[in-house]
Amino acid sequence: MSMQVEPQTRRGKKGTGAGLENKEVGQDRKQKTQGKVALLLIVPSLIVLGIVIVYPVIDAIVMSLQKDAGLDPVTGSFVAGGFAGLYNYIHWIFEQCNTPNGQASCPAGTLGSQFWSATGTTFLLTVITVALETVIGFWMAIIMSRTFRGRSALRAAVLVPWAIPTAVTAKLWFFIFAFDGIANTLFHTSILWTGSEVPARTAIIIADVWKTTPFMALLILAGLQMIPDDVYEAAKVDGATAWQRFTQITLPLVKPALMVAILFRTLDALRMYDLPAIMTAGANGTTTLSILVVNQIRIGFNSAAALSTITFLIIFIVAFIFVRFLGANAVESATNSGKAK
């Protein structure tokens, strides 16, 4: 904040040659009143953020430390569970459930038994979809960045899958991948797309790539357009081949934008819910963490809050790794180049 205020105070002063003491006093007063105004302007958004983000987050963490309501065996009514400590977290991470015979590993068919498989599924889908989307998105971006007739029409057309709501996309692909659907009719196959693990995951990956590659392509396109043409011209003059220009100029210069695009997509993919929920309802190894959370909400809020917190931590760690180790440069140079402009 102070960094932005400083130049203004300086400009506000009549002469730059004023005494040192004077300057400091004036700056102080100005800064004080400006600080107040700034605070006043920020407060509304702080309050909104507090209500919308801070309160639910804290409430969720508090809830995650409570036991879910249990049944009183005599009356058959629910009674509040009370403080649970870390029970809910242990329940998920170690897949331990309360059973009639005390604590034991969660039997198949409980949500508790699906935590690690859901985590695995989430990461698997994330890695494959993001990798495919990056490669195809890059290719689409390069095509879109060329100048040719109908370029804007192409750019608009590419955006269509991204503009369709995910739930609608999911329903479309659900019909396409039905046994009597277009996919099987077109290729004269009789694959049960939603009937076993590999086809079900493939179907979801195809749908997700179809839907989100345009997003990737647009972000990369933005990065491509920031590369000045003269760099390429200079390289051409020096006799660089097309491949050399791509690896030596395009890739390094587009890397900041690319990393940000990959980061966004990764975070997004880790939260994947609608596509598997609608296409397979989580059957055949397509239950993602988000599906697990939503299913758990219907069974018990507190345990679901714990699972949400775990999901958050997992996503946070991934984001942290990206920013700290892979994308740190990306963010810095992105801001730097922004400033230079």
Partner: protein, 432 residues
Amino acid sequence: MKHSRKFAALAAASVLAMTLAACGGGGSGGGGGGNSGGLSGDAAANLDARGPITYVQGKDNSNVVRPLVDKWNASHPNEKVTFKEQSDKADQQHDDLVQNFQAKNASYDVVDVDVVWTAEFAAKGWLQPLKGKTAFDTTGFLPATVATATYKDTLYAAPQTSDGGILYYRKDLVPTPPKTWDEMMGMCPIAKKNNMDCYAGQFAQYEGLTVNAAEAINTAGGVIVGKDGKPAVNTPEAKAGLNNLVQAFKDGNIPKQAITYQEEQGRQSFEAGKLLFLRNWPYVYNLAKTDGSSVVKDKFGIAPLPGKDGPGASSLGGHNIAMSVYSKHKATAMDFMKFMTSQETEKFYATQGSLAPVRADLYADADLVKQLPYLPVLLTSIKNAVPRPVSPFYPAVTQAVQVNAYAALKGDKTVDQALTDMQAALGAAGSQ
């Protein structure tokens, strides 16, 4: 580095918000208090109070609720009913009710609840027990529908509409419909000869599978949850029931693609003339008779589900109507519930919305049968029906049934293993 920190914090905040916000607002359920004797707590308040109330129900697709509410309001100027329409998605309706009950919202006076939610809401202490001053007379109602509204021997809701599974068959190929499962399997060569699939129900992993698996198990004499509320699915009878389905998949009597079938895929296959027997709900009847794409318009008949040695045990669909314990005008709410389940209203449901009545004598009503020819068959179905497990942990129960039954149908697990796991998962569901 500084930037990256800021960015990390930002990413953290947004991710946290996105993942956690969904869970905000859910307090701890519970309360209600033990009321084994008379009414107590919220349930004892405002019993004689009259005044305006609100009726909450999911989307009124066939426009049956509005005319009824108008009719009520015309004769009750001081106890007007406001109709609050929810979305048409069952999950959203459920979550909306939960939120409003948790907030003790007094303006959700009378609510429409799916049969499988009734126990959960009752155990949470949100539904007014229908006894004492708020007693409800269920004489003339089909017993199975009353069972869906009963929790721990107390009635918590009034049956409003019902639904049961029926067998659709090709009467041009099979003159007399099969009465038992074995008989039906014995007719499968007819399907083969005509190059068709033999039998299908709903076997994708979703609520429909719970319905179908429960029917198979109940038909064979097994149960999923016993009368005492304890899971009892690991029995020879249940095994025989589930094994019928598993075996039919193995033999190809149920086509392999049926593992992806929900209601609609089965209906389409039947209407396209590719399926000999179909287990489905009554809604298919009119569609198969009138759909332009249906090639079986005059070639199909309906029958009760095939059983072990008589009609099979259908699962029950439908809705109950219940009163919130937080209602401020319970006397009015009670009258409105009686009005919404009266003989006349039930008939209106059937004629206007094709909703199956819960009163037995309407199934013999000549006018109605003329309009809805499936009613006599449906009556047999509902009379032999077994409600899906009445459990306050229904969402966990249905998960336990679906996941394990699905694994058995696909052959990933033996029937023995599936039922052992199902039993264990049901046990864990009830002891959270």
